[in-house]
Amino acid sequence: MSRRISPVIPGFGLTLGYTLVYLSLLVLIPLGAMFVHAAQLSWDQIWNIVSAPRVVAALKLSFSTALCAAVLNGVIGTLLAWVLVRYTFPGRRLIDAMIDLPFALPTAVAGIALTALYAPAGLVGQFATALGFKIAYTPLGITLALTFVTLPFVVRTIQPVLADIPREVEEAAACLGAKPFQIFRHVLVPALLPAWLTGFALAFARGVGEYGSVIFIAGNMPMKTEILPLLIMVKLDQYDYHGATTIGVLMLVVSFILLLLINLLQRRIERP
């Protein structure tokens, strides 16, 4: 006879019902409304909006800068997590708390601050000018803003996993004759990869949709530094609700496919 352990939170039916209502009100209904709105257009009209040169240019820019930022944070975020977990040094807790600041700061404030710093006459920007390149008002500036905004994701997903790997595992590998790189490649990477991918995907998804911080540093030049969310605002300012929702749906679909791929990849890694 199996004894049923009574759960801490009341029954399955109630919690599932609550989950569904909550998800519907917050996620499914708003997103569904977008699809319904866009569905009022014919396929030809949708194709015309989606294939316009400006939309294509913005699509490439939004996804490539978000990807760059996610990759950059994938590397630097791992390093940060490593330092914060494996070493104790004065001020560690302070730095640890600072990692979350990009989440707490209004993105517009971040955008204005970064622009002031990296503009051609700015504190850092002037050195770039002296070297003959520009940071603010170029895709580089956009990547920079996205890297800032998505910094916490990789750090925060990797930190607990890294803390859970006992030092002894590495020591055992070393005793068995593994070189530092082999330890990294065969011991640490497999353990960290699923969490790393989650952080990477979160950072990427957030970067694609980011508006507030990017809009100040982007320069917003059509065909060059115009991000997709800005094009949605442009359409709305022409009272073109259908056009705006169509671009919204486009972003949603592309993001969803990419996130799905990352999820599948994660599955394969977890079950070799």
Binding site: I215, N220, M221, K235, D237, Y239
Partner: protein, 333 residues
């Protein structure tokens, strides 16, 4: 005992006073960005005028933001009693998309429902190092021009049309005018989404040699930064920027605020209303008040949206909607 009685009395009077205070009229003025300071002062003046006639005091709530965004908020259900936006095209949408006001809204108040006007001027760095005097100087080698994106900013549309009007008068044809504006926008390194964003880019981030700005914004920047960093240059020709006002019929009828909302807008045309507008660097319509402030505003030749561009109904699709002149300028590159 007496303390308790006093407390009870205080409580009772608070209960009675509470509802009456809440019942005093409240109206919402939905406006665009740079009018914040103007309406703060005007609301107090209107309240004084209104209560002096024996009417109940009125609380005016203000809401500010990009003109297009504000119009959309009202269409989507923000219960505005009056709108005071940057251009007639945005209020037209209240009729077309929202069915909130009649099509002839603009003829209901004097001067096409525009109690004050402004224009587009140049703000340059002190001493005018690049020697910018007129529109033709903006396309000289090495000059950087700051203006917001006309797709997202009402003010930027006025900038664009002013440049177009000058080029058309100087060079004679639409094709030449288009060539000029294309050349002009090649001198623009950043397209901010709104007028305030452009002012920050020019003033704080020190980018560009000249800012195309609302006259009232330019004066405000001068006042706040002190006159030692910038100066205003008035081009030979510019555009009469007309930010109109309207009562939102559907909302005031539902709330029963038509009388006070109408009076609120009408008082903008009074001597006091006109003086407050002029104090905040908007050009007054009234001849007498305009004469009082004549020294404040530079004299320049002004074209109008209705006479020279056939109104916003023609200008918006021709220049700014998808595939319009502004898009052509950038797609051809």
């Amino acid at each position: 005992m007496s303390i308790r009685r006093f407390a009870l009395a205080a409580l009772a009077s608070a209960l009675i006073a509470g509802p009456t205070a809440a019942a005093s009229t409240e109206i919402l003025n939905v406006s665009y960005d740079p009018t914040r300071e103007l309406y703060q002062e005007y609301n107090a003046a209107f309240n004084k005028h209104w209560t002096a006639q024996g009417k109940e005091a009125v609380t005016v709530q203000q809401s500010h933001g990009g003109s297009g965004k504000q119009a959309r908020a009202v269409i989507d259900g923000l219960k505005a009693d009056v709108v005071t936006l940057a251009l007639a095209g945005d209020i037209d949408e209240l009729n077309k998309l929202g069915k909130l006001i009649p099509a002839d809204w603009q003829s209901r108040l004097p001067q096409s429902s525009t109690p004050y006007t402004s224009t587009i001027v140049f703000l340059v760095r002190k001493g005018n190092p690049k020697g910018i005097k007129d529109w033709g100087d903006l396309t000289k080698e090495g000059v950087e021009v700051i203006t917001p994106n006309p797709k997202t900013s009402g003010g930027a549309r006025w900038n664009f049309l002013a440049a177009w009007a000058w080029a058309k008068q100087t060079y004679g044809s639409d094709a030449k005018a288009q060539e000029y504006v294309k050349n002009l926008y090649q001198h623009v390194p950043v397209l901010d989404t709104g007028a305030r964003g452009s002012t920050i880019t020019f003033v704080n981030n020190q980018i560009g040699d000249v800012l195309l700005a609302w006259e009232n914004e330019a004066f405000l920047a001068l006042k706040e930064q002190g006159g030692d960093q910038f100066e205003i240059v008035a081009p030979r020709l510019s555009i009469l920027a007309e930010p109109p006002v309207a009562v939102v019929d559907k909302n005031v009828d539902k709330k029963g605020t038509r009388e006070v909302a109408t009076a609120y807008l009408q008082y903008l045309y009074s001597d006091e209303g006109q003086r407050i507008a002029a104090k905040h660097f908007y050009r007054p319509r009234d001849g007498k008040v305009a004469a009082e402030f004549a020294k404040q505003f530079p004299q320049l030749k002004l074209v109008t949206i209705d006479k020279d561009f056939g109104g916003w109904k023609e200008a918006q699709p021709k220049f700014f909607n998808d595939g319009g002149v502004f898009d052509q300028i950038y797609q051809a590159q």
